[in-house]
Symmetry: D3
Subunit: 248 residues, 6 copies
């Protein structure tokens, strides 16, 4: 059930059955010479919808733009500052919690979002408590990173070994190829690829990762791989969501 | 050209030709018993993509959640506070202006966004000036509201007369029916519909507009109407975008 | 009844009769070579006091400085950023709502304030609701722009035609001449005056409107015209205020 | 020279002679049963204009609403939160410093503003330095509290002794009587008046100072006293302003 | 009783006896060629612990970094902006007030903190009132500046006369020598020392106070003096704290 | 070299050799019936000083209060909100980076700080870039969590197995016993201890972890263990710091 394709009365009915909601969150950032700028949002959205179908959960509109400040030296990247993103997440959860939602499952496509999301959850729990919303103490948020699913990780290692890298990875590129086969990109990829440098500011990032990839070889990606990743992630995160729902 | 389906190198190439970008912005809010919660985002996104194709402009990911605080007494509505939205818009434009974009054309699907968007533009111009970004003084933003296009307005009056109303209108519902024919909703619509009350807070809104409609009869909507609205809006806003680009 | 010339006990008594308050809001910004920097505040204040007398309403101190960032390339302009102004308006209304006021009628002298004021109202309604103030859901705010009164607009067209322009207009200059005849300014006015360029940032504004006027010829203004504008605006906004008070 | 009655070109000319500006700041808060809610703004404005005339300085519009949170349990009080006021002062000074002003002399009518003003000055110096405004390091701000002028203090002691008190004092009431003789109020004043309790929150304040006065007997005030206070303050602060201007 | 060396159950027990807490606050800022960067925090902490022992009060961890923006042109200085510090103090007090504390006694070692602390208290009282914390109206905060104790001031005048100065004073240096005899510094001190210039921005400060001292001769300091200052301050502030506790 | 026991001239000299600084960060939060409220700050500070001695690095004053909102249902806990902590960290780094520091090594004692610290680093890199500080692009920050040192982790497992738990752990309690043997606490510890529940809001936390421990048995701690942990952490983090310094 997709929130944006539902009516408010359907949501009202849904809330009589469940307080859970899935919120896909991605990023709009460079993903190397062949990766789509929307990669993280595309993956998160596709998987979230799959999980929603599997579990009968409602799926919110995707947060397309996340915390990608370190990619902003590449054109096309859009990022929120962490302080902005905390307010955004707080606003989302506050609206939904007032309506009766209590279990917020963020299916996340971007490692750079994790820290700020967790900070935002803490900020929000305290805010809801201050508002004295009736169910404030029942509100629970969780980040579920599809790329950290053990089944996904295992397959990526099998298929790509060290060439999986950590940004603009073949696994995420494969998933976008599966979702958007019409947008598969070709571009020369240097065999030398930056790796091993930690992430600091945007200019520093671009200096050490000049084409945007971090140790990855996205040329290995295929749409068929993407389908496999999609199915593994949907399965694992569907279980994750159901456990989250049923846990106290 | 869709930003999320492009690579950063494609964006770099694009910027050699144009500094323009289209940013669809909608809302996630109740639209009456039969209107989709995503109506405003769906319309803005569909039209923005049409305009992008017509004008060869790049189209950013849709801002799905806008300023809809007055709808938050209905479940499923998600809103940013204006102060949050100002920061979001500032962050978007700042990232893109640093990369070289200078003409920001927001195709907007929600009347409630207009004031905050304009406030955000003012905030952002001053911010960019403070940052001493080289092209700061060239940055220009514009809100283009598809539902205020004269051709759209005229057709809506012809088709629906007073039953167009001002929220959950048959014209916007028609457009979503055209885009998502699989999500056409049926629900009883009272012949008595709230109208004539100004918009204040969320509880006040729900009191005067109990089913969420404002003077509208969305039962008049058809997908065929939606196609007409879509084409009129794309044509008129494509012209608007091109004028914006070519103006000093 | 002027708030600043009242005692708190008089306010307490007033509140037993009425929950309405008039808040004049202007701006401190360039108004061309002959317009006063305080034009917008002067007009708003004078009219607000007239309306207050006519309707027995209490009138708050004038907000002298508003959102005029686009005028800041001219010396003497002072502006709040929109994000600051939202907090200011929120603080005003919150204090007054806690005391029992519920109908806030902002008589506004500056077009540039409108968007931020509306954003501030939305922010404030939600804030009051969060505070659980007893009468939060009854709080209503309205912007009444004297220069948009139909009677004012009509007279301006009659007297000045196209030379009314849209900033440093003869109508507003006339009104200040009526209020401050001792401060009527003389300065050469080029017959070429900028017009037709939209408003973006401050440097851009000054480039296209080099002496600060927007398509106007304030040399046409006379104090007698000012008196007429004053009387029309007071009459029309007094009716507007009374309707606002009596509406649900 | 009053900023609001000047044109931007007059300000431009003024700046060739002087970088100084006087900013009156008051408060909108209860002043006991007979004191005007605008007392602090009225006094600051009147004295500031007197100082402006004496010293040929430009005088900005009065900041009518300051930091008066502790008075908000009395109806009619309006206060900014300190965090808001810091942003307001920062915005004022930033606009004016960009235009070339460098010496900001705040003539203040309210003790409760002092701490926040000082905090705002610190915040602003750092902000201007970050903006790399050419004259950032020359910007200097000072608070001049008229009620702390030694000549004023001495006269108040002579006239009223201990009945001067510390809020709704006869000296400030006298000054408002001199400025607004038509608004002299009569109301019964209990001979028992709260005193000696420090200032904390708003409810605590009202509990210990039930009619709003702090140890004062404003019944002693006369317009003639007010004239004396006015003249002493103008003289002393004119000297203060000139010293400030000439100091490095 | 030191909060950081206590358990939460000990705090729970303490709260059955007392709602008072002592919060030392200092600064991390240059103190001339021989003064320690931590001077203000060291003094505040030592005295606060002495007062805590004398009065059986609980002592919170020291706020080491305060408002020292005007010292930031000297390396090693760390400062919060006032707007940040207000949020910090608000967060501290809010947590502790929710737990039952109501009397907050800030023992302060830095003049530059005073204004921002007072602003923060006002902000916090209003915030607590908005949160509807049960004991919100009982929360009281006080700043106690050890260097303004009359006994301290008197001794400093006796020992150093005018060479006490107002920053990097021999009295505070002496106190740090008493606390950290192992960190007594030797460095050439010019006999010419800046004085008489008011405090504005950081660059201006360093220009007029090139070695960081303000009119002081810290070479006069001895650890024995420090012991005397310590004992006087502890005694006077212990009385101050007990009066604060017992006052309504 | 401890910053608070240094002079600004010593810092100036230090900066000619190194741009590195160690910033200990802890928390002020409940640590079960026998753990000190200051545990995380005590551990971080002790280890940071050890690392500073080993590596000749300068050590800043400890940030005593961090992000511990989930512990605030226990008295004595003090927490910053994440949005506040981001501003605090931004202010610290900005001051120090302007002075020439470029490598910021946060030795952290509290898991709850990690997300917010990382968010703060991202916010700060972008801020420094906006400020156009000369060395902005060289600024690098790292969080080093002593309790995640592999040597520490290994010893904890050896000594305590599963009874290490994840909050109020015997390893951190042991370390505080080593540092403050005079503050070793005795209290009954239920053999039933909460475990396995994720961290959400404060009330939820206390419900599932009623005495504050998370799966731990701190009764196993001894000061001798603490010494071992201390030495392992100092050794491992000294190497970590030196690697950080020498890395590009």
């Amino acid at each position: 059930m997709l929130l944006h394709l539902s009516t408010w009365q359907e949501v009202e009915t849904y809330l009589q059955q469940s307080g859970g909601i899935i919120i896909p969150i991605g990023s709009t950032e460079q993903h190397g010479p062949t990766g789509l700028i929307g990669t993280d949002a595309i993956c998160a959205e596709a998987i979230a919808r799959g999980v929603g179908e599997t579990t009968q959960a409602i799926v919110a509109p995707t947060i397309n733009v996340g915390m990608a400040l370190h990619h902003t030296a590449f054109p096309g990247t859009i990022s929120l500052r962490p302080s902005t993103m905390i307010q955004v997440v707080r606003d989302y959860i506050t609206c939904l919690a007032k309506a009766g939602f209590s279990k917020f499952y963020f299916i996340n496509g971007h490692g750079g979002n994790i820290a700020t999301l967790k900070a935002a959850f803490s900020e929000t729990y305290a805010h809801l408590d201050d508002l004295q919303i009736p169910n404030a103490h029942k509100v629970q948020c969780q980040v579920a990173n599809w790329f950290m699913c053990s089944s996904v990780y295992k397959l990526a290692k099998e298929l790509y070994g060290d060439q999986e890298g950590s940004h603009a990875t073949p696994s995420e590129v494969a998933l976008t190829q599966y979702v958007y086969p019409e947008a598969i990109k070709q571009a020369p990829l240097s065999s030398e690829v930056g790796s091993g440098h930690r992430i600091y500011g945007a200019k520093d990032f671009r200096q050490y990762y000049p084409d945007g990839r971090m140790g990855s070889n996205p040329a290995l990606a295929t749409p068929e791989h993407g389908k496999q990743f999609y199915e593994l992630a949907v399965k694992e995160l569907s279980n994750g969501y159901l456990e989250f729902l049923s846990a106290e």
